[in-house]
Amino acid sequence: MPTRLLRSPLSALRLWLLVALALCAFAQAALAGSAELEQGIALIKTNKYDQVEEGVTLVASSRDPRAVGLLAALQDSDLYLRKADGRLFIATRSDAGYDLIDPLTQAPAGTAGKRDLKRIRINNRLRSQLRTAVATLNLTHPEASVRLAAVNEMLDRLDADSLALLRDLAGDEKNAEVRAGMTAAIALADLNADEPARRIEALDQLEGNLHPAVQGGIQRLLDREQDEAVRATAERVLEGLQFKRDLYGFAETLFFGLSLGSVLVLAAIGLAITFGVMGVINMAHGELIMLGAYTTYIVQQLMPEHIGLALFLAIPAAFVVSGAVGILIERGVIRFLYGRPLETLLATFGISLILQQLVRTLISPQNVPVANPDWMSGSWQINSVLSLTMNRMYIIAFCLIVFTALYLVMRRTSLGLQVRAVSQNRAMARAMGVRSARVDALTFGLGSGIAGVAGVALSQLTNVGPNLGQSYIIDSFMVVVFGGVGNLWGTLVAGMSLGVVNKILEPWAGAVLAKILVLIFIILFIQKRPRGLFPQKGRAAEG
């Protein structure tokens, strides 16, 4: 019933092209490599998926050193056809249009307007073909790191040609790491060898190699292997791999848990001040986080050229914006409602709705795009199994920095001292000359400002939209209540442990059930210890 629409051959054009190419090839038989390159380029210029595919094969098999640049550009969708003369260029966006580079010589080739060029389209099949092709060509790259990446890339997609090439190259390879990679690739291919002894030898070489292709290869070998000795070796190697995998898997889960935990701590720590220390149930806390995220967006819009710098500037900006809104809320509404928690709850909930709708009306009901700087994307590859994503590592570090800063403010500054004094005994603090109204406003501003800073961090992980705050408000209260009201350490420990527990439960219970289980656990825990993990001691706790 369905057909491959875009793969339908344009027979006439294609035939003509092939004839032309054949003639061309005949004429230049002496220069076989460069002729293949030329033919390949001609096919790529057709901009039809199946012909580009043939073209890429030809360009790759030319083994011409100039081919890598061309194929890499095609892989990144940077290869364009100039409509006027049908030449290929690598084009990068500039203010006026495009800057052109010649794909073979890599020399600058002037500029072009936006409408002068047509991009060479690629699809997934081509992308995967290009990856292998570029990797094959990169096996002889002067940089050892590029060669290593190329070998790892090719490990599970070796054909006879590239295997032969690898065998040639492995002997001359100077870099130990790259040589080990090449040996592994050859060993992986040798799993298919006819003699059992060679298969066992290959298995021995693969022992402890965590590349996913290795496990798949050995698994496939086990499925068809008849020879008992080979089977035994394969099973032993596989078991060793599995053990290592489990070990790293556990480390990974721990990392996931800590990173989820630090998100929880960031979202909750502002609340730990306003709710924990001041006792205000602030339902608009989530919206203060949202305002911080929107501030990041606006700062980025103001300086689109410097996304990374904008992110750093957004931290103080978000602190000021959310802090100011927080002080406004405190002075305008909450101060009239101290001691009446139910009214505070309703009033702040109303404020949260107002803030949400305000953002919807003023900015957009749609989510807004907040860009990630390049250093936030990607991951730190420790080995083939364990890789830690960069953005999560920054979030963990950021969370610890914010926590430390806040802790120092509360413990080492006079503001912190006054806050603690007022929260422990308002009347006595006032008698000692503390202006409690001012302290209330500043404390609330501090808690709100920290919520804004959390918003900057969350903008890098999740969607920035009017509903951002709602998804964190329940989690935040959960963390603060679990940790013990009025205790920063409690918030940190509670957030981190809830994160880890959630991530340990998630693989076997599913994301939905894991959340429910955590909630039930907290409810039971609160029944046993109503004051949370770290109950506040002293007179305030009684009241």
């Binding site: 369905p2 997934n124 798949g216 989820l260 919807r360 009901p365 991951s379 994503t389 969607n463 939905v512």
Partner: protein
């Protein structure tokens, strides 16, 4: 949990107060059209655009001289992403405003909520979003895709063209993904896919921490067989999902993700670099090059006064639904529900992808199925499409309970769930 519920009803109340009182117009000489889309709350992100689309279509129709010599008048209400409020608003539209037809709803749960109201009051609803099927009501016309017009062809494409052997069915935890995945699971098994080659995973609405799930998918995909993810993940949970895929180094060549709920509108809010090459299955893409589509996009940009706004699949569904309705009203010479329901069956109208949409006896329409690859400008490049329109099938052939059931609203059957084996219409109205 009760807290959330209380918030929800509070917000509903607020919304009802602010939006409930809509134009009390001098009715007699206009035909009223109800628009039932959330303008606030979670679903506002998707539904606001559909409200604007309807306003545009009505505006265009009025410029052409209206309908039956009368002007059309839009009645906009805001059900505020609150499912029970949808039913109240629907009742208000039909009873108080006396609208001739209602265009609205997005989520399946909102449709299920208004369904009894439309059947009780004999109203007309045009529902524009792809859904899980297993339903056919006399009073509802489904202009979005049924599973056989989106999910099944997409799986066929992955199986035949990309030679996928191992499947991850990932979805948000509610009725549409659960039913769709049940159908897909049955379909995959009927094609000989083994139990251990299918992984099913559900996440809550708005899930944002995808680390462990993506890591599971990565492990699942490293078993040496080509793996793909079929995603019924809804709304904005997709963004962190794709970001995590990118960060953990899973590219679209390794493990392609084909999504049923990610369209141009969803992509317009995000940085699409990490998504390039992933797939989506729809019945319409903004990038489709036809004169009808070009005209539609131009009208849309003119109406919304912003050339950066995108068009998407549910907008096309409203376009088709609205045109079929106006045709049916003209044919029947009246806006009376029973006459329109009778007149509309078999009518056809051009869709925006160069084909025709025909209203079928089961109240679904014919649609082409397109698979597109996400590009770095947030648009889709079509990589595959069916060679003809696929008729929508209300009751899936791959679920044991619904295999024998057909929907046919023409005499002599006139039933939404007629069992072709026992020759009986079930007691339900839908």
């Amino acid at each position: 949990m009760t807290k959330t519920k209380r918030f929800a009803s509070a917000s509903a109340l607020a919304a009802a107060l602010s939006f409930g009182i809509t134009a009390l117009a001098n009715a007699a000489d206009t035909i009223k059209v109800g628009i039932l889309h959330s303008l606030s709350g979670t679903m506002a992100i998707s539904e606001t655009t559909l409200k604007d689309t309807m306003l545009m279509l009505i505006d265009e129709q009025n410029k052409k001289g209206g309908l039956l010599g009368k002007q059309l008048e839009a009645v906009v209400v805001d059900p505020a992403s609150n499912w029970p409020l949808f039913a109240e608003k629907a009742r208000e539209l039909i009873e108080k405003d006396k609208v001739a037809a209602v265009f609205g709803c997005w989520t399946s749960v909102s449709r299920k909520s208004v369904l009894p109201v439309f059947e009780e009051l004999n109203g007309l609803l045009f529902y524009p979003v792809q859904y899980e099927g297993e339903e056919s009501s006399k009073n509802v016309f489904y202009t979005g895709a049924a599973p056989n017009q989106q999910a099944i062809p997409a799986v066929d494409y992955l199986m035949d063209d990309l030679e996928v052997k191992r499947w991850v069915l990932a979805g948000t935890d509610y009725v549409y993904p659960r039913t769709t995945n049940k159908i897909l699971e049955a379909y995959l098994k009927s094609k000989g896919v083994a139990e251990e080659d299918i992984m099913i995973n559900y996440t809550p609405f708005g899930h944002s921490d995808w680390q462990s799930i993506v890591s599971e998918i990565k492990k699942f995909g490293s078993a040496g067989k080509k793996t793909a993810v079929v995603s019924t993940i809804n709304g904005d949970a997709n963004v962190p999902f794709y970001k995590e895929l990118g960060n953990q180094g899973l590219s679209s060549e390794d493990i392609p993700v084909v999504a049923f709920s990610v369209g141009e509108e969803e992509l317009s809010g995000i940085d699409t670099k990490p998504l390039v090459g992933h797939l989506a299955a729809w019945n319409y893409f903004m990038s489709v090059d036809t004169p009808e589509n070009e005209a539609f996009i131009d009208t849309w940009h003119g109406f919304i006064k912003n050339d950066d706004r995108v068009t998407n699949d549910p907008m096309e569904a409203h376009y088709i639904g609205f045109n079929l309705w106006t045709q049916a009203v003209e044919k029947a010479g009246s806006t009376d529900t029973d006459k329109v329901v009778e007149a509309i069956i078999g009518l056809e109208t051009p869709n925006l992808t160069g084909g025709k949409a025909v209203m079928l006896k089961n109240h679904h329409i014919t649609k082409p199925v397109l698979i597109g690859e996400i590009q770095d400008d947030g648009q889709f490049a079509v990589v595959w499409e069916t060679d003809a329109e696929v008729p929508g099938d209300a009751w899936s052939d791959f679920l044991p309970g619904s295999k024998d059931i057909v929907a046919d609203w023409t005499p002599p059957i006139s039933c939404g769930n007629y069992n072709s084996v026992t020759k009986k219409c079930s007691g339900q109205n839908y």
